[in-house]
């Protein structure tokens, strides 16, 4: 339908920033034009979790977009101050419920930083293996969500088929499908069951076999998908860096910032993988980045399975975890960006203060910046670019 020439024409029309589509308020006043205020959410079928956007619309063009958060606030940071150090881990599972493993990992890194505990290498490999599986289980559905927001219902179900299979692996390893409570201070809860490495290997190969068909062929070439996402949510590197954006939303603008390489933790320095970047900085680029990161995750998982050493999975933390006074800091690359935890200890067996830096919350700043000037239906793909998770931004 939309041929190459037309596409080129379309790109030419849209290379100027979206804000140039806005009518200046003076002109609006002169002709007596009014804008409509609209509340999108918190009860909205396509909104990511409970987010409310206060929109000012000039026809279909968004003039102003104010995100309002707090509808899922659970005081996680305050609750953590009244729980013993190990008992905070199951609570971190509830933060970003699409990256539970990363939440646990970040918290455990912070507490281990306080404790100076030696972590056995096998535990580190299991952690990385689980985190990369989690990344797959988060990136694939987020591609599905993007398509759902564009009006195509089918990819989300293919995505959730993959997520369910990964969750079954998690269930066999950790005992739960979502709220794992698996990564512990000093290691992991238990060793992998003996048949699991083989199962993961088989699953990864079956995923590779139809990944191209279900998530690339179905979506990437679709002319409507391209026309809906190319040059939508376009941002520059400077904008993204200024807004504190991390993760795929930053990498799609061309900044190769990845905690796994820039601030290496766990066994990532021993593994071979690439940081995926794209130059376009629009929704389509973020889709491409996510697809490519899935393939990198598969690569890391394979290396983990091949290189995994034998041995203990739990370091010696003592019977009671009671760190000395001080501060601990841990940061991991969660599927949405930099997830960091800051723990302050006062020497008792409960933390004095826990702070989570969640990428969903920080990336949300983009909305106010890049949405104005876009059309109302473009808000949803931009949400797909930012890909926030309700549990993450509200904590």
């Amino acid at each position: 339908m939309l041929g190459e020439e037309r596409r080129a024409h379309h790109e030419g029309a849209l290379t100027e920033p979206a804000s140039s589509r806005l009518v200046s308020p003076d002109i609006r006043d002169e002709f007596g034009l009014e804008t409509i205020d609209m509340n999108m959410g918190p009860q909205h079928p396509a909104m990511h979790g409970l987010l409310r956007l206060i929109l000012e619309l000039d026809g279909e063009t968004v003039v102003r977009c104010d995100p309002v958060m707090g509808y899922l606030h659970r005081c996680q940071e305050k609750i953590a101050e009244n729980r013993m150090y190990p008992a905070v881990i199951p609570l971190t599972d509830r933060l970003d419920y699409f990256a539970n493993m990363h939440n646990e990992h970040g918290y455990c890194l912070a507490v281990e930083d306080l404790l100076d505990v030696e972590i056995p290498p096998r535990a580190e490999y299991i952690r990385v293996l689980m985190c990369e599986l989690m990344r797959l289980a988060s990136h694939i559905p987020s591609i599905g969500f993007l398509m759902l927001e564009l009006g195509a219902f089918t990819p989300i179900l293919y995505a959730f088929r993959e997520r369910e299979r990964i969750q079954s692996i998690f269930e066999a390893v950790t005992g739960a499908r979502m709220m794992f409570h698996y990564i512990r201070i000093g290691g992991v809860k238990a060793d992998l069951p003996p048949d699991i490495p083989q199962k993961i290997w088989e699953y990864i190969e079956s995923l590779e076999a139809h990944f191209q068909r279900d998530f690339v062929d179905l979506i990437a070439g679709n002319e409507i998908f391209i026309s809906r996402t190319r040059n939508v949510g376009k941002m520059t590197q400077e904008q993204a860096v200024e807004m504190g954006v991390t993760g795929p939303a930053l990498r799609c603008t061309g900044v190769d910032f990845d905690i796994r390489l820039d601030y290496p933790y766990s066994v990532y320095p021993e593994l071979q993988f690439e940081v995926i970047t794209d130059t376009a900085g629009d929704v389509e680029a973020s889709y491409r980045v996510r697809i490519a990161e899935c393939l990198q995750s598969i690569r890391i998982i394979k290396q983990c399975l091949e290189q995994m050493p034998e041995g203990e999975v739990m370091g010696d933390t003592g019977r009671r975890i009671r760190p000395a006074e001080g501060e601990g800091f841990g940061r991991v690359e969660s599927p949405r960006g930099e997830y960091a935890v800051h723990v302050v200890s006062d020497g008792s067996d409960t933390p004095y203060r826990v702070h989570y830096r969640d990428p969903s919350f920080c990336n949300m700043q983009l909305l106010q910046e890049i949405v104005p000037g876009h059309y109302l239906p473009d808000i949803m793909p931009i949400m797909g670019l930012v890909d926030p998770v309700s549990g993450g931004w509200d904590k």
Partner: protein, 169 residues
């Protein structure tokens, strides 16, 4: 104009393949898959073995276990020992984190394969195990210690990290 619509047709080919492909739905109430060995279901307590050490109650992040303790000479040794006369697990609060299972010194609290917890009343989910019922609405460990701010004498043992001025504390 040769490749116009090719992407759409390719995608439609994919959906057509799935239309005739193998379905993956499992018909839940009739079909129940085998739970893995480590699967964490609803908790249960073996009251004969419980020594009322209260460790599970202390570690529980959700305050869902309440134990009422007395001294009783249960084994006839002539020496009264702590005895759990009331034991309640409130499943409406439990988050299946298995901390209590790990902390139990006599392995008397453990997960079952049961996971379908449902009731018409929230209080019905509080399952009583002891001789005497315990009111599940009372928080077993309500007090919150007042903390004093830690002294910052020690340098933070963190990796050096670039700090920008507007970083949220």
């Amino acid at each position: 104009m040769p490749q116009v619509g090719q992407g759409i047709l390719k995608g439609m080919g994919v959906t057509l393949q799935h239309l005739f492909g193998q379905k993956i739905t499992r018909q839940y109430p009739e079909y129940k898959r085998d739970l893995p060995e480590r699967s964490r279901g609803m908790l249960t307590v073996d009251m004969d073995r419980c020594i009322a050490c209260l460790q599970c109650m202390r570690i529980c992040p959700d305050h869902c276990i309440s134990i009422e303790q007395t001294k009783r000479d249960a084994d006839g040794s002539g020496k009264p020992k702590p005895y759990p006369i009331g034991f309640v697990i409130d499943d409406s609060r439990c988050m299946y984190c298995s901390l209590c299972v790990e902390v139990c010194p006599v392995n008397c609290i453990y997960h079952t394969e049961e996971f379908e917890a449902q009731a018409y009343n929230r209080l019905e989910l509080a399952r009583q195990f002891g001789e005497r019922p315990v009111d599940p609405t009372i928080d077993p460990k309500p007090t919150v210690k007042k903390k004093k701010k830690p002294t910052r004498e020690k340098a933070p043992r963190t990796v050096e990290r670039p700090r920008t001025g507007d970083e949220a504390a």
